[in-house]
Amino acid sequence: MNHHHGDHDHVHHGSELSPVEARVRALESLLTEKGYLDPAALDALVELYETKVGPHLGARVVARAWVDPAFRTRLLTEATPAIAELGIGGRGGEHIVVVENTPEMHNLVVCTLCSCYPWPVLGLPPVWYKAPPYRARAVIDPRGVLAEFGVTLPETTRITVWDSTAETRYMVLPLRPAGTDGFSEDALAALVTRDSMIGTGLPKALPVEPAEMPV
């Protein structure tokens, strides 16, 4: 847009590192020199969590549980090996517990201590999950928290709050939406949102008039 601007103002200037960027570069270079870190391994980790690991994996687990009652039973009994059947697992998910929503009971997951979260199925936690208001209020006023997320449950539905730790990390199995009989696993997985597996949301609603859906 303005080539002269660049020529006159920027060429003679150096680069900038913010204080936090410089601290991180410093730690990384010191620890690499001492043999604690391998920069290539760090890059691979970043790429993995930026592009591969995320809530689409948890959505596959949920969809399988909705179509396969035997899998659902295994998932609710001992989640980690059941999830591994789908090739999903690894760090941050050594012991996952899946809690099932029913019309009578809704489950909500928090980490009151810090930000423990089931990485293999949900990826890394959103900013609000790590923030003091959610950490505190999920326990004290879960119904109010749900309202802020736009979720209103019947008064008769009880809410159970689960506190994830480094050892035990919870994931919610949401209720299968009505009107999804005969849906493929892929179509069902597309309805499963990240928040529905934390308990702060519900799966996506179906369009009222399926005939109007684009094909």
Binding site: S15, Y36, V46, P132
Partner: protein, 107 residues
């Protein structure tokens, strides 16, 4: 979920902190339980409101553990941080910042 997920990191340094912590945990420097406990302490400073368990808190927690274990003492980290800031200033805008660009660099 067919929507592409947004990056879980809001800046590259956050991703680097995350990757360092995961690598060092896997190198056996601490367990996830120790990590959560230290992070939980760090975000509850005495006499101040609780803080988010964000990557800034991760960085501070990591620095604390490394100092305590004698892996990276705070003086060395501070000196290296300054070296990187001098290197940045001496690096033309848009080029990668290498420690060797620090005018005071001694191999």
């Amino acid at each position: 979920m067919t929507d592409p997920s947004p990056s879980p990191f809001s800046a590259p340094w956050e991703a680097q902190v995350f990757a360092m912590v995961v690598s060092l945990r896997e190198a056996g420097l601490f367990t996830w339980s120790e990590w959560a406990e230290r992070l939980g302490q760090g975000i509850r400073p005495a006499g101040a409101p609780e803080r988010p368990a964000d990557y800034g808190a991760w960085l501070a927690t990591l620095e604390g553990i490394l100092a305590e274990r004698g892996v990276a003492d705070p003086e060395n980290v501070a000196a290296r941080t300054e070296a990187f800031r001098r290197a940045a200033e001496a690096t033309p805008h848009g080029e990668p910042i290498h420690l060797e660009n620090d005018p005071l660099y001694r191999p």
